[in-house]
């Protein structure tokens, strides 16, 4: 009997080889498990942080109440590079500036937004009044040329006036629609004929 034949026929070495093989497989599994665990240790916090960030931004966008983003002020002024006020949001709005001085806006208070040109002179506005009107206005320098107004009583009117005493006034109220055209301060068209300005 040769030595090799002896090993084959001896059950102890075969058993050892089998155990060694099982141990090698176990070590391999544990190594894989270690790698997986290491990856999880790194990935879980990263995924968690990312998820939290996404959740936070989404929540902020969807629910402003959870992060108070409402600015509560009586007025907001936007100035240009020269320091000239160009936009004002206010309640109330200030009196209109014209070439460096403010003149009176008239009785009552206005709330809304006004636009100023490069000289700081008011040129447009979108406002409500204490009397319940809402209006959009366009001004040439120092004078209103367009006024589009809704009355609290349900009426609406549009006034267009240039610097040469020409004007168009139209609108509608409980008494019906009306149209008036003026040239040089003289009425050239009034509809309805018998109607008066509403």
């Amino acid at each position: 009997m040769t030595a090799a034949e002896a090993l084959v026929h001896d059950p102890l070495p075969g058993l050892l080889l089998e155990r060694v093989a099982r141990l090698e497989q176990r070590v391999l599994r544990q190594r894989r498990l270690l790698i997986v665990m290491s990856l999880l240790v790194v990935l879980i916090p990263t995924i968690d942080l990312g998820a939290r960030a996404v959740a936070t931004s989404g929540a902020a966008a969807r629910a402003p109440g959870t992060h108070d983003s409402i600015l509560v002020v009586r007025g907001l002024s936007v100035v240009d590079a020269h320091g000239t006020e160009r936009v004002r949001i206010g309640a109330p709005l200030p009196n209109p500036p014209i070439f460096g001085r403010r003149v009176s806006r008239g009785e009552g208070e206005y709330a809304g937004i006004i636009l100023m040109d490069a000289t700081g002179t008011e040129r447009s506005g979108y406002a409500t009044t204490d009397a319940g009107q809402v209006m959009i206005t366009l001004d040439e320098t120092g004078r209103m040329v367009m006024n589009f107004m809704a009355q609290p009583s349900g009426g609406v009117r549009l006034n267009l006036t240039d610097a040469f005493d020409n004007a168009i006034r139209l609108g509608s109220s409980r008494e019906g629609p009306f149209l008036q055209m003026t040239r040089g301060g003289r009425t050239v068209l009034a509809l309805p004929d018998t109607g008066t300005q509403k």
């Binding site: 000239t84 070439f99 460096g100 001085r101 403010r102 003149v103 002179t121 320098t141 004078r143 005493d165």
Partner: protein, 333 residues
Amino acid sequence: MRALAFTCLALWPHLVHAQRVIREHAHRPAVSALAVSADGRRLASAGVDHRVRLWQLPNGAAIRDLHGHRDEVYAIAFSPDGALLASSAYDGAIIIWDTKRGTIVSRARVARWALAISFASSDTLVVGSVDGAIRLFAARSARLLSTCDVGIEVHGLALAPDLSSVVIGGPTAHWDLRNCTRTASLRGAGGVVNIASSGRRSGAPSAAATVVASAHLRGAAYVRSGTAFTVVDSAISERAASIASVRGTSRDTVRVPVSAVALSTDGRWLAYGDALGRVRAKLIGEPEAGREYLGHGGAISALVFTPDGSLLISGATDGSIRIWEHVAATIPR
């Protein structure tokens, strides 16, 4: 020299001028008012930056800043002797300053803000405010002497030294401040003053006077010369500076809104500025005689002549002040 100046003026009316001094950032962002002392040696400026500043003339050197207002300053005036300067602000505050020391002499207040202010004498201040009243104050004590309710927002005023008449703007009218009565109304479409009828009305000021008012209302002046009224109207919406007098009415229409006017002390030169920053000066009654001053980067917000007419000073919404050589004194009558 006078002949040369006149010849140059006649041949090249738009070329005979020189810019003397520039103050680019006198106020930020806008100059709102200018005034010159009676001796022509000091200039006062006011701005929406709450400041009042004093300058030397003719060189434009800064003298001092006057600190005390807490809101935009809209009107200033020197007392006849130059010892006091009055200023009014958007918050209704009126401050009378000692011009030599730069200190506050007294303070007064009006219900709304005052756009027109003038000294009737060295110790009597006349204040026209947006609340529709003209008030007289003792300048040094700020004691209210009287109130005249004129019923309209006062945007400009010019008064006779004896208070027999005051011309107020928008709509323009004469009032006798001694008894607070309206003596004449100067009314016209779009702010154009019908001076021919008002000047002849009974009760209108009869003193030898030239009265200057600006209707939309960029300041006003009172000038003694001749026997007739001259009214200058600078309604912004009219895009014109109008001159009305016994010599006839003339209008100089421009393509942009007129934003400031001034009349020379002798009543012969009208200057007006527009929204594009141009300043023009016209010899009244001689339409061809005029000149143009260019350089401002914003709308002209204030204009004033020195008493001798040698300088024309302009302020603009870009905060700059420019002092121009003006040869009014060298033009033969």
